[in-house]
Amino acid sequence: MEIDVLKRVPVREQDPEVRAKNFEEVCYGYNKEEAMAEASRCLKCKNPRCVTGCPVMIDIPGFIKEIQEGNIEQAYRVISNYSSLPAVCGRVCPQESQCEAKCVRGIKGEPVSIGKLERFAADTAIESGVRPVPPAQRKGKKVAVIGSGPAGLTCAGDLARMGYDVHVFEALHEPGGVLVYGIPEFRLPKEKVVRHEIENVKALGVTIETNVVVGKSVTVDELMEEEGFDAVFIGSGAGLPRFMGIPGENANGVFSANEYLTRSNLMKAFDESYDTPIAAGKKVAVVGGGNVAMDAARTALRLGAEVYIVYRRSEKELPARAEEVHHAKEEGIIFKLLTNPKQVLVDERGWVKGIECIGMELGEPDASGRRRPVEKPGSEFVLDVDTVIMALGTSPNPLISSTTKGLEVNSHKCIVAEEEFGRTTKEGVFAGGDAVTGAATVILAMGAGKAAAKGIDNYLSGKEQ
């Protein structure tokens, strides 16, 4: 295969017009020939800067070298030493602002497609049925992990590899957290990828108990005092949706992105064989500009709607990954930028009949460093929609923090935890991921789960002073 070293080997994708009507994965990923060709673009830097851009510090040149030589299983083993969820990360990590942003190849040309190569190694391992094995040496200590999202699964996987007995508690009926209820099928296949990665964590000896809402079904204190857990990791995420507080927001047809995505992803409303209803909508406005907004918009599109993204800043400030915005545009999502909703218009039956918006312009930078959007008087207009999806971010659920003695939270209800090892204000209790930081990314949560696993090991083996 001939390549231009300055350019990436292109990755095959489903045609936008076709994929706008199905839930199949958008990106097909590399085949072996393409992956080996792309791997050959890696400069194998002595001081690999890409690794410093990775929250879990995967030996990136190490696994790429194995791919280049055709040792795909070995490449997977290298990644597995650092990450419990490579098939997930290869798909949803913001590589363009992490490892790939630091790639030396990227100075002159396009950076190496590290994410696509990681995905290829992980997918190949899935196909050949390679599974991790639990260590023979047991520590004889029990750790409870609350939440089976990226933070919890990573922490559980790392602790199991060290020889701890790990029990994961999940509030919903399926493990996976945001990987299952939040990120759609067309971006992260549930059966092939997520379930497989969870089975890998189980293969390490981790048990997962679903349908347990910690803080309600059982408390952290009870887990430690009555159920004999020596340490607890809280990775319960940031699940509480925000609304705008504008008139008409309780009308029928206004949903949080969480509800809309949960119905479609976790409850599989898009699949006729499931009983879940979803109000797909014919004309849908999604309010917000993050990855969740793109996911909700592209889900509504696939359910047959004409979809608008309503975002109060300009394209440059969109918090979503560039790739997601690009995919959304390709599929026909209409972007109403510098636009903010004023109120939801409601018909006499209580249903949405439109959304009144106002034009915005960017003023001085605010505390976040982004230019503050200000209303343009007299620019009000009505967007004719029957469904409104609010994708304005989420905050942590206080169910656990409010029922655990001695666990401190900050003013945003985020659990206070040290960054290095995830230690909280309560002895033996560690935390990480969105429960600590507020809504962030899968890989940052995984990094925090990993750090906490080290912290828990230090604590339980008496290395902590």
Binding site: A171, L172, H173, Y181, T210, N211, V212, V213, K216, S217, V218, G239, L240, P241, F243, G245, E249, N250, A251, N252, G253, F255, S256, N258, E259, T262, R263, M267, K268, E272, S273, Y274, D275, T276, P277, A279, R349, G350, N397, L399
Partner: protein
């Protein structure tokens, strides 16, 4: 998997089940609810806890088979399993935080309408166990829809049964019965708990506001996760947006916007109806359900 240990048909299409769920039985309190899911592809169905047995590790649920999912539930028998049961969710009734003296001083009346009698029962039973005498009105359209009368008679000091059609007990709805108790029988109440259809709770609250009697209601709106994650269950209470699943399900009935709640529940009804129509008509269903136009 959660085994059904007992099933009983309390009235036409109203069923009671004891389900093995030790974590919930251990930590549940009156006023809280559970979510059950029949199988992999079923909906998550919220149901208020009707009773629990901490030793036996069981919770009791009561449901009316109205929609596609509850009809499927009604087909389950003792020995069958729910794939998922999660709880206890929501906050326990505020009343159970009070001392028996405080509760006695309140002069409590419980009102259960239709299948809403089931969530009233554990509260009345709690009062009995804590030595608090309370009165209770059970209402339904007709005699054959009155449930849990015997159990309630054991737990409450006085039980007043009322039917809309007069086929049993007092002739009238729960409000007529309440007015009769206060105006004609010299009863005095300082706190009411009313649970039933939203329309019933609305009218009870209109009356009790007039009478100046604080009234607690239990809301059962559309829900998905039941842990505060989706916001489907949001209500306006005193002008504030509250989530029934984590802030409730019990609220001060004089502050709840029932009209909005009924409209939001309509969405549920038509959607539930939609699932049912699809079941009956399959892909041939086009229009008529009020949803798909």
């Amino acid at each position: 998997m959660f085994e059904i240990l007992k099933k009983e048909e309390l009235a036409a299409n109203i069923f009671l089940m004891d389900v093995k769920a030790p974590r919930i039985a251990k930590s549940g309190y009156p006023g809280q609810f559970v979510i059950v899911k029949i199988d992999e592809k079923g909906e998550r169905i919220p149901l208020t806890i009707c009773d629990y047995d901490r030793e036996a590790g069981t919770v009791t649920i009561v449901f009316q088979s109205v929609g596609a999912s509850t009809k499927m539930m009604a087909e389950l028998e003792a020995g069958d399993y729910f794939r998922d049961v999660v709880g206890p969710l929501g906050k326990p009734s505020e009343l159970i935080g009070l001392t028996p003296e405080e509760l006695r001083a309140k002069k409590l009346l419980f009102i259960g309408g239709g299948v809403g009698t089931a969530p009233v029962y554990p509260q009345v039973k709690w009062m009995k166990e804590h030595g608090v005498d309370v009165d209770c009105i059970i209402g339904a359209r007709s005699r054959n829809l009155i449930i849990l009368e015997d159990a309630m008679r054991e737990a409450a000091a006085n039980v007043y049964v009322t039917t809309d059609d007069g086929s049993y007990g007092f002739h009238g709805n729960v409000n007529d019965c309440l007015k009769d108790l206060i105006r004609n029988q010299g009863k005095e109440y300082g706190q009411i708990v009313a649970i039933g259809p939203v329309i019933m709770m609305k009218f009870v609250c209109l009356l009790t506001k007039e009478l100046g009697i604080p009234t607690i209601v239990s809301m059962n709106p559309i829900m998905v996760d039941g842990t505060g994650m989706c916001g489907a269950c949001r209500l306006s209470v005193g002008g504030q947006v509250r989530f029934a699943c984590v802030d409730g399900p019990e609220f001060d009935g004089h502050l709840v916007n029932f009209d909005e709640a009924m409209k939001r529940q309509q969405m549920y009804k038509t959607e539930e109806g939609r699932a049912q129509l699809r079941e009956i008509e399959g892909e041939t269903h086009h229009g008529g359900c009020g949803f798909c136009g």
